[in-house]
């Protein structure tokens, strides 16, 4: 290559080129490359950021796009202002053991179950924060199983993930497409999950030793939740849902000590299953891990009575909220009835298996 040509070529690749000292500029190879890269990342950024403008919690719930644990955030954010007396938090043990609409029907106080499947205490803390933006609950009930989750650096990752989710809401709500396949009419009963499956407790599956260790980070989160509640005049109460798979006397002993040290109330429903008439052959949906609808109704009845007896909770059945809550309650009763049918069929089958057909 002649030296002049080579020099020209080098000039071309250095960026913007002046033509014989004129002001006009031409885009050289390198400049073109720079623009191309800019365009690529610009489109990518737009693709990640723009959906976030549309994906606000309100719009996600309005158009039925919020799924799974994000659904909890959206639904709580969309509850009528100052309409929740009791907020229930925790993992799946919480949303199978306390039904807000049943408590409404019996006692008249309003509740919302913000439990998340496999939810960590950090997530419960986030749900509490989201709720306190629009609500002033009198009681916050925390189901204690999430306290035993190991941390294993999960909190650090969670913070990084949380930041990414905040920067790009598309990431948090990426499962919105699943709503296309969701069965029409599937409702959330103020966070409670209705399940009519019956799978009796299997002693073989319960044998494993459970860790009684509660990590420092989880205790810090619990302390932070207590502080948040106190600041807003709410009482934080710990409860352990009936679950022979998740709880042992050692675990509840540790929880009692934690509650005592932190000055919190604690109720262990595992030690009261007889009073609640829980039948472990009928009231669990997965061999003693979670309660089914039959067990959930029993534990809600017991816990509801206990709450009303021990705390000052209002009866709002004559308030302006009543119309909407009664409508939801009617729907809840219908769906619960269908789920209970399945439990009753299982009960009948068991009876036939045990004692044969009636003469």
């Amino acid at each position: 290559m002649p030296s002049r040509e080579r020099g020209e070529r080098m000039k071309m690749t250095k960026g913007w080129k002046m033509d014989d000292g004129n002001l006009s500029v031409k885009i050289t190879d390198r400049g073109r490359q720079f623009l191309r890269r800019g365009a690529f990342f610009g489109i990518l950024l737009a693709g990640l950021v723009l959906p976030g403008i549309i994906m606000t919690p309100e719009k996600m719930i309005k158009y039925g796009l919020a799924m799974g644990r994000n659904r909890v955030f959206s639904e709580i954010g969309n509850q009528e202002k100052e309409s929740i007396d009791v907020l229930v938090l925790g993992d799946s043990e919480s949303y199978t053991s306390f039904s807000p609409l049943q408590a409404w029907g019996v006692h008249g106080f309003t509740a919302y179950n913000g439990g998340i499947s496999g939810g960590t205490i950090l997530e419960s803390e986030s749900v509490l924060g989201e709720t306190l933006k629009k609500q002033s609950p009198r009681l916050v009930l925390l189901e204690t199983h999430c306290l035993f989750y190991g941390n294993n650096g999960k909190h650090k990752t969670s913070h990084l993930t949380e930041r990414l989710y905040n920067m790009f809401p598309l990431l948090r709500n990426h499962n919105g497409w699943k709503s296309t396949f969701r069965r029409v009419g599937k409702s959330s009963f103020k966070g409670f999950h209705i399940n009519g499956t019956v799978k009796p407790v299997n002693a073989l599956l319960l044998g494993k030793k459970k860790s009684t260790k509660i990590s420092e980070i989880n205790l810090e989160s619990l302390q932070a939740m207590k502080k948040k509640c106190e600041e807003r005049g709410a009482k934080l109460v710990l409860y352990s849902a009936p679950s022979p798979k998740c709880y042992t006397p050692e675990r509840t002993g540790v929880l009692r000590k934690v509650a005592e040290t932190m000055g919190l109330s604690y109720i262990d429903l595992n030690s009261r299953t007889r009073e609640m008439c829980i039948d472990w052959t009928m009231d669990t949906r997965d061999h003693g891990d979670h309660l089914n609808i039959s067990g959930g109704q029993k534990s809600t009845a017991y816990l509801g009575d206990w709450l009303v007896k021990n705390y000052d909770l209002p009866d709002r059945r004559q308030s302006r909220l009543a119309k909407k809550w009664n409508r939801d309650y009617q729907h809840y009763v219908e769906v619960t009835g269908r789920a209970m049918q399945r439990v009753l069929i299982a009960k009948e089958l068991k009876r036939v298996n045990d004692f044969g057909f009636p003469e």
Binding site: I43, G47, G68, G118, L164, T180, F181
Partner: protein
């Protein structure tokens, strides 16, 4: 930290690339070594010193052997050791070094297994003795089972160390004098957790060259990482819940659901492992290091032997180079071949030779995967299958000839592929089972009548909804179409940057947004741990 975690992909890896770029060319391997040491320490903490121990032994062994060879070469011809004598001395050094590194591996990974095995034998004869954890006597007399933690990647870097030592001993390579380079070869962070198992030749040229960061390598590396994430996050991570349910003891699945278990676990295992290897190769490519491929469309294999030349290639070739060939070329085998050809027919000689050479390969392959009976049986399973293939192939060829079917024709190839896939499905089910009893129960339940009992209702009990199944099926179709294309054009990905913008940008965006939108993350999904990192 793991390859599929945000901390690795968004913090550690970009930081490593930046630091590497800022370091003078001559010292770039030291940056890689420092980052690899941080990576190792972040996972295994002080167990890092086991890697230092193996490195020191490997480096010293190599230098000693190299010194011996050089010294011998410098001596006048009449004073030189005889080749046999030199070989003997080299073998002695290599043997001691190999013993030292393998002993560390055995002590870290197999102590518990051995104690439990001995204890269960003792228990069989003396009923008052039971195995239990140290300090937690669970019976009248307790044989202590000590909990020993193993450093990350110990099985992988030990094989690399053994390969290096044997290569130096056999004169295939010259030993490296710089211990830091040997250390980097052992614990290079992209290969640390799941391989591929490197040979010194794979690393020597590229790992220490300190090549500049080039845009093309960044594009290719990032694309490969994206492809790995696609396989993992769309399919493998999504199937994790289902696999957990299917392998629960007393899960109660029967008939076709057991067959589905084999399919699901095989797909999950393949996409988890090959997806992670894509991330590994992509990570190395960012630094201009092209590592050898570890998978080559294994489900297109026509036999189990070919499957193992396409699946976990680096492990297969390690066993071929350092176990199979040495056994085949040993004096004993030569004597047997001579005897067989003289006194028996060639078929019997060939079958017995194959059996003797394959047995140690597959036993060690099973044991290498970990101290669990299903892994050991997995090795035995493939030994028997490969031996059966050796025995059957002449007969099958004869049968195909009698039926006027071409051995390489479409029908025979299709039948052979189906048979291989069935063999693999059984193998992977065994591999994933927690105990031999669980595997036995599953095999028994496979033949329940009616075969399609509760299907497809049972599919709805696997914790996946309709949308999940669509993503899994479409994702698998995409993966297998791309793999089919790669069978014809192995450099498919490498050629992507040469394509015009209107062709390659849609591919890049489709990959990124399919991971973002359809990836199984956040919302109730539990990502699969790096399965092979446990070995």
């Amino acid at each position: 930290m793991a390859y599929n975690k945000n901390t690795y992909l968004l913090i550690f890896l970009p930081l490593a690339v930046l630091l590497y770029h800022l370091t003078p060319k001559k010292y770039r391997y030291l940056t890689l070594l420092a980052m690899s040491s941080i990576f190792f320490w972040s996972i295994s903490g002080p167990l890092f010193f086991w890697a230092v121990y193996t490195t020191v032994i490997t480096w010293a062994g190599g230098v000693l052997m190299d010194g011996l060879i050089r010294k011998n070469r410098l001596l006048p011809r009449e004073l030189r050791s005889k080749p046999k004598e030199l070989k003997k001395r080299l073998k002695r050094i290599a043997g001691a070094a190999v013993f030292a590194v393998v002993f560390a591996l055995a002590a870290l990974k197999y102590t518990n297994f051995t104690i439990e095995l001995v204890a269960s034998l003792i228990q069989k004869f003396c009923q008052n003795v039971t195995p239990g954890f140290a300090g937690m006597g669970s019976g009248p007399a307790t044989v202590p089972v000590v909990s020993i933690a193993a450093p990350i990647g110990v099985s992988f870097y030990t094989l690399q160390a053994v390969g290096y030592l044997l290569d130096v001993c056999w004169g295939r390579i010259e030993a490296e004098q710089n211990p830091l380079k040997v250390m980097l070869f052992m614990i290079f962070f992209p290969t640390l957790m799941e391989g591929p198992i490197l040979r010194w030749e794979d690393a020597r040229e590229q790992m220490f060259a300190g090549e500049d960061i080039h845009e093309v390598n960044l594009v290719l590396g990032s694309f490969r990482i994206g492809w790995g994430l696609f396989k993992r996050m769309l399919i493998s991570d999504r199937l994790n819940t289902a696999v957990g349910i299917l392998f629960q003891p007393n899960s109660g699945f029967e008939g076709i659901m057991i067959f589905m278990t084999g399919v699901i676990v095989t797909v999950q295992l393949y996409l988890e492992f090959s997806g992670t290897i894509d991330i590994v190769l992509g990570s190395a490519q960012l630094f201009g290091i092209r590592l050898p491929e570890n998978f080559r469309q294994p489900f297109l294999a026509k036999s189990a032997a070919e499957f193992w030349r396409r699946w976990h290639i680096s492990l297969g070739s390690w066993f071929k180079n350092y176990i199979f060939y040495p056994v085949s070329a040993s004096g004993l085998m030569k004597k047997w071949n001579k005897f067989g050809r003289k006194h028996l027919n060639s078929y019997v000689t060939m079958v017995v030779t194959s059996a003797i050479c394959l047995f140690p390969v597959w036993m060690l392959n099973g044991i290498w995967h970990g101290p669990k009976w299903p892994y050991i049986l997995y090795g035995v399973y493939y030994f028997l299958i490969l031996l059966a293939e050796v025995m059957m192939e002449p007969l099958e060829k004869r049968l195909a000839g009698k039926l006027s079917l071409a051995w390489d024709g479409g029908l025979v190839t299709a039948l052979r592929r189906i048979r291989t896939i069935l063999i693999v499905l059984i193998g992977e089910t065994l591999f994933r089972a927690d105990t031999l009893a669980d595997f036995g129960t599953m095999m028994k339940n496979l033949f329940t009548v009616p075969f399609r009992k509760d299907f497809p209702e049972a599919l709805t009990r696997l914790g996946l909804d309709t949308g999940d199944w669509y993503v899994i099926i479409i994702g698998c179709i995409v993966v297998f179409i791309v793999e089919g294309m790669m069978e014809k054009e192995p450099e498919l990905f490498t050629r992507l940057p040469e394509r015009p913008v209107w062709q390659r940008w849609p591919v890049y965006y489709a990959l990124i947004f399919s991971i973002v939108i359809f990836g199984a993350y956040g919302d109730g999904y539990l990502p699969v741990n790096l399965i092979y990192a446990g070995f």
